[in-house]
Subunit: 131 residues, 2 copies
């Protein structure tokens, strides 16, 4: 059984909260679903919350990097939020420095990072003003 | 193994995305965690996303109502978002009309509902324009 991770939307930001260990098929599904949603919604940012992830392996690390790369191709920045200290240590020990993936301590800070990255355009619930 | 559902925070809104079938202990953990976080963060709203939930039973229905009741005691409004049509049908057939629980079609609309309920006070990262 490969479950599908739900993709939430806040303004033009997509939010994915990873809560379970994903098998290979689920990861592929997530990449497909996310790419489709980025295009469909013209999202400018993707936030991946991994606060529930206690153990990472190189597979999860690669997944994060791949999602970020795909999103960047589609003109959306990716921020990984909620990384536990132990997860950060493991990723570095695995030699996966997640180059090109921004991180923030929590969702709030991640959303702010995306807002700043977009040059201060307001993107959440407010309509973007012509500027 | 009873997993803990992560609770995300956006401004003064808490966000819970239910992705797996929760066993009894996980539901109790979630209620405890959520109550603690509402107090700790002085949150004004709780959004529960159930877009990944395909099958509900009376247990899940009661959980939603209980979380809403606890949150209300702690001065936070609860909105359930992402309910599938089949889930709505089942809840009604079960006689669980979720009285007192607000619903919205998706996260974005749920956040707007909470904003409105709070009389237009700004809660997210974007400033609401006077209108």
């Amino acid at each position: 059984m490969s479950e599908r991770v739900p993709i939430l939307q806040i303004g033009d930001i997509l939010l994915v909260s990873i809560q379970t260990d994903l098998d290979d098929q689920s990861v592929l599904n997530l990449q497909d679903d996310l790419a489709a949603r980025v295009v469909e919604s013209a999202a400018h940012g993707v936030v991946i919350d991994i606060s529930a992830v206690e153990i990472v392996d190189s597979f999860v690390g690669r997944m994060l990097a791949t999602i970020a790369a795909i999103s960047r191709m589609l003109d959306a920045e990716t921020v990984v939020v909620g990384m536990r200290p132990a997860v950060a240590i493991t990723l570095v020990e695995l030699g996966l420095s997640l180059g090109g993936v921004s991180t923030a301590l929590n969702l709030d800070l991640g959303l702010r990072l995306l807002e700043r990255a977009r040059g201060g355009r307001d993107g959440l619930t407010a309509e973007p003003t012509a500027s």
